[in-house]
């Protein structure tokens, strides 16, 4: 008898779970799903690149030089006779890594900052969010250029600098979420149980604010990747011997008159990835119904 009831309850819980509903909705959105699958494929390729790339990263063939796509080199070769597909695969590793790592930095700072501000409230909140407002007004694009000039073009710094820019919106979203959640009974219950604030934030607040965080994260990755490509294009980001899609596009643009494939294929790789991330982000927003739950 009791087990029946428990089964009923678990069934009901599963049926109406937010994540299950969201998945059902997302599955209907073909563009978002296609975007997600492409991203998974690109990520797997990026992880396996050292083993599956058709040529060695530094393999040159100066006799061949720049050649259009062919059976040996599917996407052609650059002026040093390097295989473009190999270059794009290795460049993708860097571009995706910058996207994921810098977004994680932003996520970590933003969620912690917003959660503390929203949970503690009062003067602490006012000071913390005023700081965010001030930083919002700072022209960060210019600052990143400045940072890269002053401290040299260092990939670790690039992660930190981009992450430090992108956390602001995350903090605002997290704060408004926490402020809403704080009013709810289960948080009051947790407080009256005597749980320390750090546990409440970690166990109760962050998991319940996960929807907006996921959506915003998915939409932050493309803007981070764009920023990296932008800096690399100007020559202020990734430096040779490393490469990234932005750097490949920059080289391609120099020789596009004679060898247009050197511009088109890296450009395609970047655009398709950004497309996928944006469609997935939009799809997740609809699926998790983020906008309505905010109202």
């Amino acid at each position: 008898m009791t087990t029946d009831i428990i089964e009923d309850i678990t069934e009901a819980e599963q049926g109406s779970s937010l994540w299950h509903d969201a998945w059902l909705r997302l599955r209907k959105n073909r563009l978002a799903l296609a975007g997600g699958m492409l991203l998974v494929a690109f990520t797997i390729i990026a992880l396996l690149t050292p083993w599956i790339a058709p040529y060695a990263y530094d393999a040159q063939n100066l006799d061949l030089g720049a050649s259009p796509p062919s059976a040996q080199h599917w996407l052609g070769t650059d002026i040093f006779g390097r295989d473009l597909l190999t270059q794009i695969m290795f460049g993708g590793r860097v571009s995706l890594a910058v996207g994921f790592v810098a977004t994680s930095v932003a996520l970590l700072i933003g969620v912690t900052w917003g959660a503390i501000a929203g949970y503690v409230g009062g003067k602490v909140d006012a000071v913390m969010m005023r700081l965010v407002d001030i930083m919002y007004a700072l022209p960060f694009m210019i600052f990143i250029v400045l940072l890269m000039v002053v401290f040299g073009r260092n990939i670790l710094l690039l992660f930190l600098a981009i992450g430090a820019v992108e956390w602001l919106t995350m903090a605002r979203i997290m704060r408004s979420q926490v402020q809403q959640l704080r009013q709810q009974e289960f948080v009051e219950a947790a407080i009256s149980l005597g749980l320390p604030p750090s546990t409440i934030i970690r166990r109760h607040l962050i998991p319940n604010a996960l929807g907006p965080i996921i959506v915003y994260t998915t939409l932050t990755i493309p803007s981070v990747m764009l920023l990296e490509a932008f800096l690399s294009f100007l020559g202020l980001g990734i430096q040779p011997p490393q490469t990234s899609w932005g750097l490949l596009i920059s080289y391609g643009a120099e020789t596009m008159e004679e060898f247009p494939w050197l511009l088109i294929f890296p450009g395609l790789a970047l655009t398709v990835t950004l497309f996928s991330l944006n469609f997935l982000g939009d799809g997740l927003r609809d699926a998790l119904d983020v906008r309505r739950s905010k109202d």
Binding site: P139, I142, F143, L146, F233, L234, L236, G252, L263
Partner: protein, 310 residues
Amino acid sequence: MWRFVGIRLLQAIPVILAVITVTFFLVRVAPGGPFSAEKAVLPEVKAALEAQYRLDLPLFQQYTAYLGDLAQGEFGPSFKYPGRSVNELIGAGLPVTAELGFYALLVAVIIGGFAGVIAALKPNTAQDYIPMTAAMIGICMPSFLLGPLLVLVFGIYLDWLPVSGWGDIPGDKILPAITLGSGYAAYIARLSRAGMLEVMSQDYIRTARAKGLPEWEVVVKHGLRGGLIPVVAFLGPAFAGLLAGSFVVETIFQIPGLGRFYVQAAFNRDYTMILGTTVFLSTLIVLFNLLSDILAAWMNPRLRAQFGEN
């Protein structure tokens, strides 16, 4: 309303001061002095140079002296080109960049706004999907890719438009303006679509329709004002983005504007030039943000009421 403007102005001051301070000290802790690349110079010459750039003073005095210069609108001399001052370079580059930015913004607002409003009038039809898909492409296509592609197609293959320069050959301003503006056109299209969708479902629109107004008048007179508030609020951040975008576009099209100077200064490690330009551009951006906030607040009657208009 004036209170709102006053509060915003007061908020802008610490931001600008923070920019100046952070930039100044960042540039000062940068490795490598301004003259380290040159061959060994006589001690007297070095001392004279250091005195000229005030490098002989303690750091904090350098900072206060710099603030004093700035207050008089003096951005200081260039490290790399001793004869030139940052003011001269800004004076030469700003009009060009301002013109480019203006055309780009025009492209963005006209195309983006039009596409967004059209899409919002018939949501979830082809009239909505086609412009919005185009907008998605615009967002995902960075200017440093779009620029070379446009040059390749319209400049080289079709040979319709010049591929570089500014004001030398008729038509050489078209490609840079489109390159810089299209990304913002895409954002504005999405913003104005969302804004219009929300406004067009409001009661006052139904009232306007019930009055028997023709549909275009409902849209233009009653819809646009509310629906475009998000677009106006976006113009401030867009301006900052346009400036950064001008770095790329001016480099691609070899336009002698502020953006190209900035990138060159970055490459040359011309620290005073970077410092001066950063301070100048940042102030400009902060002021523009302020302007767009005020404009958006003025367009929004609820906000106006909140700050006790009349």
